[in-house]
């Protein structure tokens, strides 16, 4: 049997011949140390900046424990029906907001798809505009629209529509760009004009994906709609922030639990519909 161990001299020779395999170069190591140093310095500075002193953490935690004590057991305070109606309002906001966003995003998606509008300056500009819109949180939109159209669910609907339209349009544009070219050529060859080929060759390919994205956004919008009321944009969030303001913490927990249950139900239902849309049942016949 051959000797399995490597002699020390052999190892040294290998190390001399292939130093990179044994040890990263000094520059590489310096860079990685530097990156970690910056990371920890920034983290330490962050902790210092937000004033995370042990006494403060301890004081806050004991107050938090006190709050949890107040929350238990959760109670509806006799307003369960009000909460239920506010939740319905939240769902309505999410639904109408998503619908508005989808209606606006379909034409924008076609405009933003490179294979439909091949002008790259237009494409680039539109995509950057989508990215810009995406950077603003739904809550910020809600704040602005409450100021623009007054308090109530309408402001929430607009906020949801505005914050989603850009992301949806981007997703739709990507779906359209990924569509198969051959049906388009086939319909063209049969004498269809541009609009007809969009309707008959592109739309059938992307519609299931578009619907599934829309449902997915509806799911996530029920989550975000639940908090928009905090800035006055209707729904359960208004009840929640009012209960916090008057320190009825048992009702706060009750509302949070109601939100969680609703979101779970919506998620489950929407997931089933999504699966049915993407994979339609095999037809007999």
């Amino acid at each position: 049997m051959a000797e399995a161990t490597i002699a020390a001299a052999e190892l040294a020779a290998l190390q001399a011949a292939h130093p990179r395999l044994f040890r990263r170069s000094t520059a590489e190591r310096a860079r990685s140390w530097g990156a970690w140093l910056v990371f920890f310095a920034l983290f330490g500075f962050g902790l210092w900046w937000i004033d995370a002193s042990p006494t403060r953490i301890w004081g806050g935690l004991s107050k938090l424990g006190f709050l949890v004590g107040l929350m238990l057991p959760p109670s509806d305070g006799g307003a369960a029906w009000d909460f239920a109606y506010a939740l319905l309002e939240t769902l309505a906001m999410a639904f109408l907001g998503t619908l508005l966003a989808v209606l606006a995003a379909v034409p924008l998606g076609f405009l933003g798809a490179r294979n439909i509008v091949p002008n790259w300056i237009f494409h680039f500009g539109l995509r950057r505009l989508f990215d810009g819109f995406r950077g603003i949180d739904t809550l910020v939109w809600a704040l602005i629209f409450v100021s623009a159209v007054g308090m109530g669910p309408f402001a929430g609907i607009l906020a949801i529509a505005f914050s989603d339209v850009a992301v949806l349009a981007k997703l739709y544009a990507e779906a359209i760009e990924g569509a198969d070219r051959r049906p388009v050529e086939g319909v063209r060859a049969a004498g269809a004009n541009g609009l007809q080929s969009l309707r008959l060759a592109v739309l059938p390919q992307v519609l299931p994906l578009m619907l599934s994205h829309a449902l997915y956004f509806f799911e996530s919008n029920t989550r975000s709609a639940a908090i928009l009321g905090i800035v006055g944009a209707g729904g359960i969030g208004l009840q929640l922030s009012e209960r916090i303001r008057i320190n009825n913490w048992d009702e706060v927990l009750f509302i949070v639990l109601m939100i969680l249950a609703t979101v779970a139900v919506i998620d489950a239902v929407s997931r089933r519909i999504r699966m049915a849309i993407i994979r339609p049942p095999a037809r007999s016949g």
Binding site: L42, F43, F45, G46, L47, W49, I50, D51, A52, R56, G60, L61, K63, L64, L67, Y85, L88, E89, L91, A92, M93, F95, L96, L99, D131, G132, R134, G135, I136, D137, T138, L139, V140, L143, I144, F145, S147, A148, V149, G152, P153, F154, I157, L158, R223, S224, A226, I227, I230, V231, G234, L240, I244, V252, V256, I259, L260, A264, R283, G285
Partner: protein, 289 residues
């Protein structure tokens, strides 16, 4: 082909078409019912939409300041009169997002190993960790922020904590999903060599999952910077507080100035994270060879 075959084919086609139409009609009716119900509950009708949309547009349009070519410099200066202060707030927002992501990421990292089905024997521990992550993830961030502002006082500390809790929940779940797909070979190797559970996690699991973890954490950082800009609205620090003041006091040009600053900030963070992510993935792809 006999005429009978063609007839049969046509009948089948018609039947399929009819079924498809029925399905479409069913979904359409469902959608219409949901639309009507939502419109009633949400107090929205076409008239409201027709007056409200232009109103909203006029508001957004009204926040755009007057910029003349002749006095562009002075106009820009007037528009961004608070630039130094706002930049400081923007930096604070980014710092909040970063600190919250690191804190939440560390918590998620610690919780993700016991939350992975393939890595723990005890079912009770696995179940407890899963539920803990679920609660941290599903309660909206803003609710945490409201509660923490109450417990820890106004300021960025409450915001960072709210971001950290939410991040721990969502990253912990994503991390656990990555863990459940690791190659069991190295785990058996370390166990055969006599490694403890902690050693197995450190030496067999972590090297496999680290690039994915880093990628998810960077994506989360982008999301967290965005939400850090909103969380100030409830008094938890960052640029959102200033925006809230501007909106409440109807300082129209300030609103657009701060919004543009937020967009610029988020875009820069997005680009930076993307660059780092590509570098990390590229680096590891090279080392695998």
């Amino acid at each position: 082909m006999s005429p009978g075959t063609i007839d049969g084919f046509e009948r089948g086609y018609r039947r399929q078409q009819a079924e498809k139409r029925r399905r479409t009609l069913g979904f359409g009716l469902l959608l219409a019912a949901a639309l009507v119900a939502s419109a009633i509950v949400g107090q929205v009708d076409l008239a409201r939409l027709a007056t409200g949309l232009p109103q909203a547009w006029a508001y957004v349009w009204g926040t755009i300041p007057v910029l003349r070519v002749k006095t562009l410099g002075a106009d820009l200066g007037e528009w961004y009169w608070g630039l130094g202060y706002w930049l400081r707030l923007a930096a604070e927002t980014v710092l909040m997002g970063f600190t919250g992501t690191v804190l939440g990421g560390v918590a998620g990292l610690l919780l993700c190993f016991p939350a992975s089905r393939n890595l723990v024997q005890g079912r009770a521990l696995h179940f407890a960790c899963r539920r803990l992550l679920e609660v941290a993830r599903t309660v909206p961030e803003l609710v945490y922020a409201l509660v923490f502002v109450y417990a820890f006082g106004l300021g960025p500390f409450a915001g960072v904590l709210a971001i950290a809790v939410h991040t721990a929940g969502s990253l912990g779940k994503l991390f656990a999903e990555v863990n459940e797909n690791v190659d069991p070979g190295p785990i058996e190797g370390v166990r055969a060599a006599g490694g403890t559970w902690a050693m197995i996690m450190r030496l067999a699991v972590l090297p496999q999952v680290l690039p994915n973890f880093a990628s998810y954490a960077l994506l989360r950082l982008e999301i967290n910077v965005r939400s850090a800009s909103a969380i100030g609205i409830v008094g938890a620090g960052g640029i959102g507080e200033e925006l809230y003041l501007a909106v409440r006091q109807f300082e129209y040009p300030d609103i657009s100035a701060i919004l543009l600053l937020i967009i610029a900030m988020v875009s820069i963070i997005d680009l930076g994270c993307e660059a780092v992510r590509h570098r990390l993935i590229g680096h590891d792809a090279l080392r695998m060879v």
